[in-house]
C-alpha cells in the first residue's frame, strides 16, 4: 500500500466511511457534493462545500467563492474551512462526497502526470487542471483522515481504495437489493468476482428486479464476457432492455450533473403523462429508469426526493447522446445555461452548461465563482482554429485575457495561452504583427514563466518567440537546456522543441542543439527538423 504524504491526526470521533454503491440514501442527512472527473471538479467542489458548510461572512467561505481568489489561496481556504467544520462536529458525519474515485491520486515519490505531460508531445493539454484536482484530493484526504465523511463510490478504483484506507476510512457494507435466493446470490457473487462496478451492479439488479432478466441469466452473461469487457457487457444488457422512451429520457438526463430534484420534475424537466419533448419527460420513462437502477434516488437535505445518475453510467450515456446528435446535446446545454436560478449550485451548473454549449459570451456572463474552467472553452476554440478557422485563435486569446483580468492573474496557463493563441493567429493569417502585439505576447510568455518557472514548454516558447524576432538566444538556450536535461531528457526535448522550431534552417537548429543533438534526435519530430 502506498503512503499519502502529509496526513494529519484524526480529530473527529466518527471515522469516515465509504459505501460501494450509487443510492443517494447512503448520504441521508448530510450535505453532499459529487465529483465527476471533469475539469471543473477542483473549482466547483470548494464552492459548493463552502456554501453548504459555512456562512457567507466567513473569511474562508469568501475566499472559496470569490472569483478573484487564486487557486493556491482557494485551496488553503478550503482546507481551513474543513478543519473548522470538523472541529465543531466531531461525533457525527458532516459531509458526503459522491465518486471520490474521479480524482487523480497523489503519491509520494512518484512522477506526477504533470511531469509526464510536460515531457510528452501533446502541447494542447492542460495538465495543470489535473494537478489542481490532485491538490484538492490531497486536502480532502487529510479531511477524510479527520473523520466524519460519507463517501459514495459508484465506480471504485483500487488505487483510491488504497488511499482511502490509508486515510483511515472504513468500508461500509452494501446490501443486495434482491431477495436472497440462490440465483440472486449467484449473481451477486459473479458481479463481485468479475469486478463489476456498483453502478453497473445497480443496472443488473434493476434488470432482475423488473423481470427483464433472470438473475442466473445475468450471471451467465457476465461469466461469458471476456476479461475487461464486463462493464461494457453489463451496460449493453441494461441499455438494450430499456424502452425507446426511457433511452431518450436517459440521454436527456445525462447532461445533468446530480443531485437533481425529483418531485413532479426531474431536474429542469417536467415529468408528466404523454410524450417526450425538449421540456418534458414521460412519467413512465422516468419511473422505468428509477426501477431499472439508472437513477440513484435519495432524500435532499432540505426535504423532498432527489436523484443522481452514477458517473460511470452518465459518462456512457453522454457518449451515446452525442452520437445521436451533437447539436441537440449542445442545444440542451444552452437551454440549461440560460435557465437562470439563484442558488449557488444552480449558478455553478449554469456556468458548466454555458461552457459545454460553447457560447463564449454566456460562459463569461455565468462565471460567478471562478473562471479557470473557461480554459476548456478557449482550448476548444484553439483546437477548432487549428482545423481551419484561424479567427478562433483570436477568440481563444480573448478568453484567456478575460481569465487573467477578471479572475486569476496567477494563472500561468492562461498567460501562456493568451500569448500562444495571439502568436498563432498572426502566423496563420500571415499578418504583420504590430509591435504592440509583439510586446504583449512577449509579456504573456514572461508572465507564464514567472508563475510556472520549471515548465519546459512555457520556457521553450518564450525563448523561441524571441528567437523568431531575431534575438540571440544561444546562451539562454544552453543554460535552460542544461537545467531541464538535469531533470530528465524528456523535459529537455520538450523545452528544445519550440526553440528549435523557431529557427529558420536545419543548420541553425543543429548548431544550437550542439552537444544535445543525439538526445534531441531521439524525438521523432525533432529528428526530422534536425536532419
Amino acid at each position: 500500500m502506498r503512503v499519502l504524504p502529509g496526513i494529519r491526526g484524526r480529530t473527529s470521533g466518527v471515522k469516515s466511511r465509504f459505501i460501494l454503491g450509487s443510492s443517494l440514501d447512503a448520504l441521508a442527512g448530510v450535505p453532499f457534493v459529487a465529483a465527476y472527473g471533469e475539469d471543473d471538479d477542483h473549482l466547483r467542489i470548494p464552492v459548493l462545500f463552502a456554501t453548504s458548510l459555512g456562512q457567507p461572512q466567513d473569511s474562508d467561505v469568501k475566499a472559496c467563492t470569490s472569483p478573484r481568489t487564486p487557486w493556491a489561496e482557494r485551496l488553503d481556504a478550503f482546507e481551513e474551512l474543513l478543519q473548522r467544520v470538523q472541529g465543531k462536529r466531531p461525533s457525527q458525519p458532516f459531509a458526503g462526497l459522491i465518486h471520490p474515485d474521479a480524482f487523480p491520486i497523489p503519491f509520494a515519490g512518484e512522477a506526477s502526470d504533470l511531469d509526464a505531460d510536460r515531457a510528452g508531445e501533446e502541447v494542447r493539454d492542460d495538465p495543470s487542471f489535473r494537478e489542481e484536482r490532485r491538490d484538492l484530493f490531497r486536502v480532502l484526504t487529510r479531511s477524510f483522515e479527520r473523520g466524519g465523511w460519507l463517501l459514495l463510490r459508484p465506480g471504485p478504483r483500487s488505487e483510491t481504495t488504497d488511499a482511502l484506507l490509508e486515510a483511515g476510512c472504513v468500508a461500509a457494507a452494501m446490501v443486495s437489493p434482491l431477495e436472497a435466493s440462490d440465483e440472486d446470490e449467484l449473481l451477486t457473487r459473479t458481479m463481485l468476482s468479475r469486478g463489476l462496478s456498483p453502478a453497473m451492479q445497480g443496472l443488473m439488479y434493476g434488470l432482475v428486479r423488473t423481470g427483464r432478466l433472470r438473475a442466473r441469466s445475468a450471471a451467465q452473461r457476465l461469466e461469458a464476457a471476456s476479461p475487461g469487457m464486463c462493464e461494457a457487457v453489463a451496460f449493453e444488457a441494461a441499455y438494450d432492455a430499456l424502452s425507446v422512451e426511457a433511452v431518450e429520457a436517459a440521454e436527456r438526463l445525462s447532461v445533468l450533473r446530480g443531485p437533481q430534484q425529483l418531485n413532479g420534475v426531474a431536474g429542469p424537466f417536467v415529468v408528466r403523462e404523454g410524450d417526450l419533448d425538449d421540456l418534458h419527460l414521460p412519467r413512465a420513462a422516468v419511473e422505468e429508469l428509477i426501477a431499472r437502477g439508472w437513477l440513484g434516488i435519495g432524500e435532499a437535505l432540505g426535504g423532498g426526493r432527489c436523484f443522481a445518475m452514477a458517473e460511470p453510467i452518465r459518462v456512457l450515456l453522454c457518449e451515446r447522446a452525442m452520437m445521436m446528435g451533437e447539436a441537440a446535446v449542445r442545444a440542451r446545454h444552452r437551454w440549461l445555461a440560460g435557465r437562470g436560478g439563484e442558488s449557488v449550485p444552480e449558478r455553478v451548473e449554469a456556468h458548466y452548461h454555458a461552457i459545454e454549449c460553447g457560447d463564449e459570451q454566456l460562459a463569461l456572463e455565468t462565471a460567478a465563482f471562478y473562471g479557470a474552467d473557461l480554459r476548456r472553452l478557449a482550448r476548444a476554440l484553439s483546437e477548432g482554429a487549428s482545423r481551419g478557422d484561424a479567427d478562433k485563435f483570436l477568440r481563444a486569446a480573448d478568453i484567456y485575457k478575460s481569465i487573467i483580468e477578471r479572475f486569476d492573474d496567477t494563472d500561468a496557463y492562461a498567460w501562456e495561452y493568451r500569448g500562444y493563441n495571439l502568436a498563432l493567429y498572426y502566423a496563420r493569417k500571415k499578418l504583420v504583427m504590430p509591435s504592440t502585439v509583439e510586446v504583449e505576447i512577449r509579456g504573456c510568455y514572461t508572465n507564464a514563466c514567472e508563475r510556472d518557472e520549471d515548465n519546459p514548454l512555457y520556457r521553450g516558447r518564450e525563448i523561441g518567440f524571441r528567437a523568431r524576432l531575431g534575438e540571440d538566444i544561444g546562451s539562454e538556450f544552453r543554460r535552460w537546456m542544461m537545467h531541464f536535461m538535469q531533470l530528465s531528457s524528456r523535459r529537455g526535448i520538450r523545452f528544445a522543441s519550440p526553440v528549435l522550431e523557431a529557427l529558420p534552417s536545419a543548420d541553425a537548429r543543429r548548431a544550437l542543439a550542439g552537444p544535445w543533438l543525439a538526445v534531441l534526435k531521439s524525438d521523432r519530430k525533432l529528428a526530422e527538423r534536425l536532419s
Binding site: A224, E245, R320, M323
Partner: protein, 390 residues
C-alpha cells in the same frame, strides 16, 4: 379471403381453429414465417418482399387479420426486415396492425447510436442505411411495454392464455456467450464510430447483421424459435449458425440447454417441422442439433428458403446431403434452379400439392395428432430421399 391476393396465395391452406398452420416464405432473397396458432392467434417472424409485395403483410391482409400477437425480428439483416416498415405502417392496405408483443434482437439501441453517428459523419450513409433506419423507427412505434429483446434466456410466450393455451413459443438463440460476444463487439463498434473512424467493410457488415462479427468469429445475433404444441415440436431456425467455437451458435445453444436451465433440450428434440437455419448454408448446419431434432424419428419436413444471386447461393449441397440422414422430406420455397442441388444430394422431387399462387411459400398444417399436410405455391417443391422413393 380476398380475391386480389389469389395470384399470390391461391392454393395455400386457410388457418383453422384447432390446427397449427405455418407459412414459410422464401422468395429467393429473404424469408419470413407466419404462424397461425390453434387458438386463432398469429405469430410473424421476419418480413420479406416479393415483386414489391411484403408477403407476411399481404397474407395477414388476405386473411383479414388485424392483430399480430407476437412479432419477431430475428436480426437486422435486410433479407429479414425488408418490408417491416410497411407491415407496421398505418397506411397498409389492411389498415394498422396491432402488434401485441415484439421480440427483437439484442443491441438495438447501440446499433442505432452507431448508425446515427455514421449518418452524421457522412450523409451518404443515410441512403445506404435508409431501410434499416426505417425498420428501427417502425419498431419504435410498436409501443411501450410491448417490446422485448429476446434471447435464449427470455421467458416463453404463450399468448394471453398462458399455460392453458396448450402451446408455447420459446426463443432458443442467441445463447449467453453469443450475447456477451455481441455486447463486446458493439462496444468496439461504438468506439470506432464515436471517434469518427470510417467503418471497414467487415464492421459495416456486422452492423447490418450480415457478417460474422467485427472480428469475423461468428454471427452472434439471430434469434431462433421453438414452438411446442402438445407433442408437436417446430423449429424456426432464423439465421443461427454453427461456428467452430464450442460455446457459440448452435453449439452454445445446445450446451446451454444441456444444463437444463433456463430451458430444456426437449425443445429441440424429436421435431416435426424445421425451418432450416440460414437458408441451408454450409456454416449453419449442426450435426449435433440435427441428431437431437431427429432423435426419435426423422424430422417430418425440413423447409429451406433458398437464395439466389451470389456465386454459390445457399442451400449448400453438403447441408442437403446431411439432411438426408435426418429429415423425411425437404421443401424449397422457391428457386427451381436449386432443385438440381437436391437431386445431386440424393433427393428426388415428389408431386406434393401445389397451388397457383406465386408467393414463394410452403405451408404446413398440423392437426395436433400425427397428420401433416404440405402445400407449396407455384415455385415451391417437395423432395424425399431417393432411397425412400425407391
Amino acid at each position: 379471403m380476398k380475391p386480389e391476393y389469389e395470384s399470390l396465395f391461391g392454393g395455400l391452406p386457410r388457418p383453422e381453429r384447432g390446427k397449427l398452420t405455418i407459412y414459410v416464405f422464401g422468395p429467393g432473397v429473404g424469408e419470413s414465417q407466419v404462424v397461425a396458432l390453434p387458438d386463432g392467434r398469429w405469430v410473424v417472424v421476419d418480413t420479406c418482399e416479393h415483386n414489391g409485395v411484403v408477403l407476411p403483410s399481404a397474407l395477414l391482409d388476405h386473411f383479414d387479420v388485424r392483430a399480430v400477437d407476437l412479432l419477431v425480428v430475428t436480426h437486422p439483416d435486410r433479407d429479414h426486415y425488408k418490408g417491416l416498415p410497411h407491415l407496421l405502417s398505418a397506411s397498409r392496405a389492411g389498415g394498422s396492425l396491432d402488434v401485441r408483443v415484439l421480440w427483437r434482437y439484442r443491441g438495438f439501441h447501440t446499433r442505432r447510436n452507431v448508425l446515427a453517428k455514421l449518418c452524421a459523419l457522412d450523409a451518404s450513409n443515410k441512403r445506404r442505411f435508409a431501410e434499416l433506419l426505417a425498420a428501427d423507427d417502425a419498431m419504435d412505434r410498436v409501443g411501450r411495454g410491448r417490446v422485448f429483446e429476446a434471447a435464449l434466456d427470455t421467458m416463453p410466450w404463450s399468448g394471453r392464455g398462458g399455460a392453458d393455451a396448450g402451446y408455447e413459443v420459446t426463443c432458443i438463440a442467441p445463447c449467453q456467450r453469443d450475447q456477451a460476444y455481441e455486447g463486446e463487439q458493439l462496444a468496439k463498434l461504438l468506439h470506432v464510430a464515436r471517434d469518427g473512424i470510417a467503418l471497414d467493410e467487415r464492421a459495416e457488415r456486422f452492423l447490418l447483421g450480415k457478417a460474422r462479427g467485427v472480428d469475423g468469429k461468428g454471427n452472434p445475433l439471430s434469434l431462433a424459435l421453438a414452438i411446442r404444441w402438445g407433442s408437436i415440436g417446430v423449429l424456426l431456425g432464423g439465421d443461427v449458425e454453427a461456428p467452430m467455437d464450442a460455446e457459440r451458435g448452435w453449439n452454445g445453444v445446445l450446451a446451454t440447454l444441456a444444463q437444463e436451465w433456463p430451458k430444456s433440450p426437449d425443445l429441440l428434440r424429436s421435431l416435426k417441422i424445421v425451418k432450416v437455419s440460414h437458408h441451408g448454408s454450409k456454416g449453419a448446419f449442426s450435426e449435433a442439433a440435427w441428431k437431437l431434432h431427429a432423435e426419435a424419428r426423422p424430422v417430418d419436413l425440413a423447409i429451406i428458403t433458398p437464395f439466389r444471386g451470389s456465386s454459390n447461393p445457399p442451400p449448400h449441397r453438403e447441408t442437403l446431403s446431411n439432411l438426408g440422414r435426418f429429415a423425411a422430406q425437404v421443401a424449397l420455397t422457391s428457386e427451381p434452379s436449386s432443385w438440381g442441388k437436391l437431386t445431386d444430394a440424393g433427393w428426388v422431387r415428389i408431386d406434393a400439392p401445389r397451388g397457383p399462387g406465386n408467393a414463394a411459400c410452403v405451408a404446413v398444417t398440423l392437426d395436433g395428432a400425427s397428420s401433416l399436410s404440405v402445400q407449396a405455391s407455384e415455385q415451391g417443391a417437395v423432395f424425399v430421399p431417393r432411397r425412400a422413393r425407391a
